[in-house]
Amino acid sequence: MIAAFLAFAWRSAVEPIEPPAASGFDRSLIRHGAELAALGDCSACHTAREGRVFAGGRPIGTPFGTIYSTNITPDPSTGIGRWSQVAFTRAMREGVDRNGRHLYPAFPYDHFTLISDADIKALYAYLMTRQPIQAPAHANELPFPLNVRPLLAGWKLLFFREGRYRADSGHDSTWNRGAYLAAGLAHCGACHTPRNRLGAEKDNRLFGGGDSENWHAYAINTESQSPVPWDASALQFYLRNGWHALHGVARGPMAPVVENLAGVPETDLVAIAAYVVSVMGNPTPARLQRAAGLTATASRNTAGSSPQSALANDVGATIYAAACASCHESGQPLPFGGINLALSIDVSGEEPTNLIHVVLDGLPATGEVQIPIMPGFASTLSDRQLLALLTYLRARFAGKPLWNDVGKSIGDAR
């Protein structure tokens, strides 16, 4: 038994190769690989803050400790320059690096294993033709025994199923394309599916909402709390542009995802939207009716409307009127104006994490591109005031009771 496990746990190294010349790869294959890398959001994890793209070094927080992404540029000594196609394919599909070490599932090989040969080949061609950047790996910060890599073999035995995507003949090719991308390369579930105590996605709760870097990834299945239910065209627009007038703006870890998606073919976005919306199922008539009301209000021009509070002695209402309404009721259109909070998933969603996060830290400006900017209130809102604000927002804009344990969420966010 132990011997069998060891045999499974032990993986051999794949022979290093001379770094291949960029000219040896087909241009159209590289271009296709670029689109795939964008779909896979590779740069988001493999780029450190203010670091070079694909050079790794970004800390990925997990419940178990901090893992640092690796350098996937073709640098021979610190990157994947000496990786053959075989080694690369094995890493993508089996979670084993060229030396034979098991990779932590923060690298979503449980999704990438679904990717086709052709796509892996294109990804390899793309990555091997990037500028090599010398950037040594940053040691992970994991407590014993989690830092013992062979243990990962045990994790894999329990939770990892190797194998390619198999088309579902019950659906059309668009849906299947969407499912292939969403479940595989785009690894949507890595954030949007809840995980068990050992960090594996819960199979029975696909897209039921998960966590990512202190943000909540909302449920995008039948449990979706989106005030206006998603339809395929809205989702497609959102994935392409990073915002939608009835849904808001992608922020947090979703921001780089949509930034990357800006460069992928429309057909792929159509497919992903079709698939994800089908997972969300048909909204109930009650939801649809409420949504119709919201849509009608949202489309009315509220330009310059006065943020007068109806409930003058409610602290939360007063804070909203004084601090929030001048932007959120300015009538400035999305994506740069403040969203009408009745449409905000942050207010009506299943977890308060993101709302608290945004109120406290705001959406700070970064770089010199058009992005929504919001000031944070961490140093001026007391916990009590924040609670009053959340209570008010939740009641007025979502018509829902306050979340359980908001106090703890506030504490965690601070």
Binding site: I30, R31, G33, A34, S43, E50, R52, V53, F54, Y126, T129, R130, Q131, T302, A303, G304, S305, S306, P307, S326, Q332, F336, A365, G367, E368, V369, Q370, I371, P372, I373
Partner: protein
């Protein structure tokens, strides 16, 4: 400028008297004669002035219009120019202190004020040192000699043996008479002479020394510096509700609820001009929001497609001006290589950090307006015309605003405040524009298109050159009341003035369109486009930015074709020794010849111009890195050289050049006004991103080429053009890709680089 009313001079005199009397000192009278605005209307001489006097003395020849000395020895200098954040006050004081031989701290400076100072037109075009600096320098020198002359007769010592120092005239015997003792009421009420006895630069003790700016201590300690900081007794706060777009008509307004809001004093409606006045500032803001929500506007779709801007512009009817042709015969035989390129620039916003503001008060039938305008006299003209007041009933006083880079909302805010104050006599009215109003309504720097064609001869020299630039006007300033938004929006609906091209040699859209390079055959055409889809006017360096960007980019393209080093290629075509020196110094200080080879994501670029071909010379070298995967540009280091003629405040010059370079980086890399078919879409810093600290270069060195004794050359706009070209050239060096459409965004560069 249109002629001032005949009683204007007298009234200015009286006001000046009234203001100065308070000091209990000698009252001097002076004459402000009508002046031409320096930047936009040429340099007309005052009627009857036979000889050319120095700088603005030409138009305002009496010495006491510039310098006043009190019996207590204190000295006041006057300038019609305004402090815009460029440090002009300090430089003008240095000049006066130097030539007049008084200590700097005995000096007071009074700036642009229609009751007190000469009419020096606009503070624009980097003219302040040439106009006002030169006038003050000569006036101070002549005043000094007059004082020495008086002392000579009182002491009975030949003037040649006397010397002035620290506000005192000293005889060889050691006898001294202070300026206060020497001065008499009309002593300086004399016309300036054509020739002054200027000090030898070798003896300078204040000029050409870096002098800490006098305005900075107040600015960093919360002093009352800006018009935004004014708090007059009884002052009310007004906010304007602007139309949502150009040409929108106010169809209905529901003001009843707003009138009942706390603190609201008045709602002003005059045609499409709508404003609210309240006791407290935040009350005014809340009332403005409610009023806006209760207003219905009829909008029109008048704007072109942003994505097709260049084509739209060059497709509009235009007037052709052949501004340069050399020689007029046909170009030489078909040359070895010919190149052609088209460059474009979008609309660019001034985007001052502080939105425009003004305070106005109608009292005793005189309307006083405190404004951060660039031209108190033209602004007065516009306001008087708008309100049908005689100009002598309007008094405009310049007070600093946030950084001013041309014709922004300042005049319009002054017009707003004036219109509201005229309807609420007695109370001072403070109008503060909101951020979104500043962006939506300020006149932008015009979008432009430039086309260049040139050929090289077999020796790699430029054989012939053809250049055309398409542009709107670059000045829609007041004067006329129709230049003010309030004038346009009020029921009277004053029409905006007809746009005019600014004439060469300074030019507007064609500013710097004529290369300074020695070219055997060349033709330069300015295609002036009268119709203006977006509101435009003067933005720092006007067309100079775009033309230098285009010409200097094209020079690099030609250098590449000639297989010549870009700096060597420029020197090969430069005869002007001062130009050559600036280019050489910048290259040396940068380490151009030993620079890292371009390609693989890192590159160096060079740019040079003499601003307007008659102001400061500036050359800039830049090194930057491009991130292949994103197209993001990170400027690493910059070296610049500048020749401003005689330097007055070297650190002030450096500050201006540094600021110009960073501002140009921001324009060049990031900025474009966005709009749909009806509205301006960039209304805040989310939608109009500008340079942030993360993108500031690691080092920026400015070297001043000293030119002792040479005339002052304005430098406030000298670095914009060269900086933009140095950037584009460095990008091309780093990536092998030539970007010709501004701004050089990461997205555009990434698209050019490809996968």
């Amino acid at each position: 400028m249109t002629a001032l009313l005949p009683n204007d001079t007298a009234s200015a005199h009286i006001s000046r008297r009234a203001v100065l009397q308070g000091a209990g000192a000698l009252i001097v009278s002076f004459t402000i004669s009508p002046a031409a605005s320096s930047q936009d209307k040429g340099r007309a001489k005052a009627a009857g002035t036979a000889v050319k006097l120095a700088g603005s003395l030409t138009n305002t020849p009496y010495l006491d219009a510039w310098i006043r000395i009190d019996a207590d020895g204190s000295v006041t200098a006057f300038t019609g120019k305004a402090e815009l954040g460029q440090g002009i006050k300090t430089a003008l004081l240095q000049i006066t202190a130097e030539e007049l031989e008084v200590p700097l701290d005995h000096l007071t400076l009074i700036t642009a004020d229609t009751a007190l100072t000469a009419n020096e037109g606009y503070t624009a075009g980097s003219h302040s040192m040439q106009d006002s600096g030169t006038a003050l320098r000569n006036a101070a020198a002549q005043a000094r000699e007059i004082l020495i002359g008086v002392a000579a007769s009182r002491m009975n010592v030949p003037a040649a043996q006397l010397k002035a120092a620290s506000g005192v005239v000293i005889a060889p015997s050691g006898a001294r008479l202070s300026y206060g003792e020497l001065v008499s009421p009309t002593l300086l009420h004399v016309q300036a002479q054509p020739v002054s006895k200027l000090k030898d630069p070798a003896s300078f003790r204040v000029m050409n020394r870096s002098q800490p700016r006098i305005d900075i201590p107040g600015k960093v300690t919360g002093g009352s510096v800006y018009v935004q900081d004014m708090r007059l007794p009884g002052m009310l706060h007004a906010r304007v509700v602007r139309p949502p777009s150009y040409g929108a008509q106010l169809a209905a307004v529901d003001s009843a609820a707003v009138e009942r809001m706390p603190g609201v004093m008045s709602i002003v409606r005059d045609g499409n001009f709508l404003a609210v006045v309240a006791e407290r500032e935040y009350q005014a803001i809340k009332a403005m929001r409610s009023l806006a929500a209760g207003s219905k506007w009829q909008e029109q779709s008048t704007l072109p497609k942003q994505a097709e801007l260049a084509a739209t512009l060059s497709g509009l009817p235009s007037q052709e001006f052949r501004i340069f042709e050399k020689p007029e015969s046909s170009p030489p035989d078909a040359a070895a290589t010919a190149l052609e390129a088209t460059y474009t620039r979008p609309y660019v916003a001034h985007a001052s950090i502080g939105p425009s503001c003004a305070v106005a008060q109608l009292r005793d039938e005189t309307l006083t307006v405190w404004t951060h305008t660039q031209g108190v006299y033209p602004d007065r003209q516009a306001i008087a015309e708008m309100l049908s007041l005689p100009p002598d009933r309007v008094h405009c006083i310049h007070v600093q605003g946030s950084g001013c880079y041309g014709h922004n909302g300042a005049d319009d805010a002054a017009g707003d405040a004036a219109l509201i104050a005229s309807k609420m006599p007695g109370r001072p009215i403070r109008v503060q524009w909101m951020r979104e109003q500043e962006f939506a309504w300020e006149p932008f720097g015009p979008a432009m298109v430039a086309k260049a064609r040139a050929s090289l001869d077999s020796s790699g020299r430029i054989a012939d050159w053809e250049y055309g630039v398409w542009s709107n006007t670059h000045s829609m300033r007041p004067g006329p009341a129709g230049a003010l938004l309030a004038g346009q929006h009020m029921a009277l609906a004053l029409p905006p003035p007809a746009p005019k091209p600014l004439p060469q040699p300074e030019g507007g859209g064609d500013r710097n369109a004529i290369p300074l390079y020695a070219l055997p055959h060349a033709k330069v055409v300015h295609h002036f486009i009268p119709s203006m889809p977006l509101r435009v006017s003067a933005l720092r360096s006007l067309g100079g930015y775009m033309n230098v960007f285009s010409i200097e980019s094209f020079m690099d393209e030609l250098a590449l074709a000639a297989e010549t080093d870009p700096v060597a290629f420029r020197l090969k075509h430069l005869d002007d020794p001062r130009a050559r020196e600036v280019v050489t110094v910048a290259a040396d200080r940068f380490g151009w010849s030993g620079r890292q080879k371009g390609g693989s994501g890192r590159g160096c670029g060079f740019g040079f111009a003499r601003y307007k071909n008659l102001a400061a010379y500036c050359a800039i070298a830049m090194q930057l890195a491009v991130e292949h995967e994103t197209g993001r540009i990170r400027v690493e280091r910059i070296a610049a050289a500048v020749d401003t003629g005689q330097a007055v405040n070297p650190d002030g010059i450096r500050n201006q050049i540094e600021g110009g370079i960073l501002q140009s980086m921001s324009w060049t890399l990031y900025e474009a006004v966005s709009f749909d078919d009806t509205r301006i879409l960039c209304v805040d810093w989310s939608t109009y991103p500008i340079l942030r600290f993360g993108s500031v270069p690691n080092s920026l060195d400015v070297h001043i080429v000293e030119r002792p004794g040479q005339p002052f050359l304005g430098c406030g706009e000298a670095s914009q053009g060269p900086a933009s070209a140095a950037l584009a050239n460095a990008v091309a060096d780093a990536t092998g890709k030539r970007l010709r459409d501004l701004p050089l965004t990461a997205a555009r560069l990434k698209a050019a680089i490809g996968v």
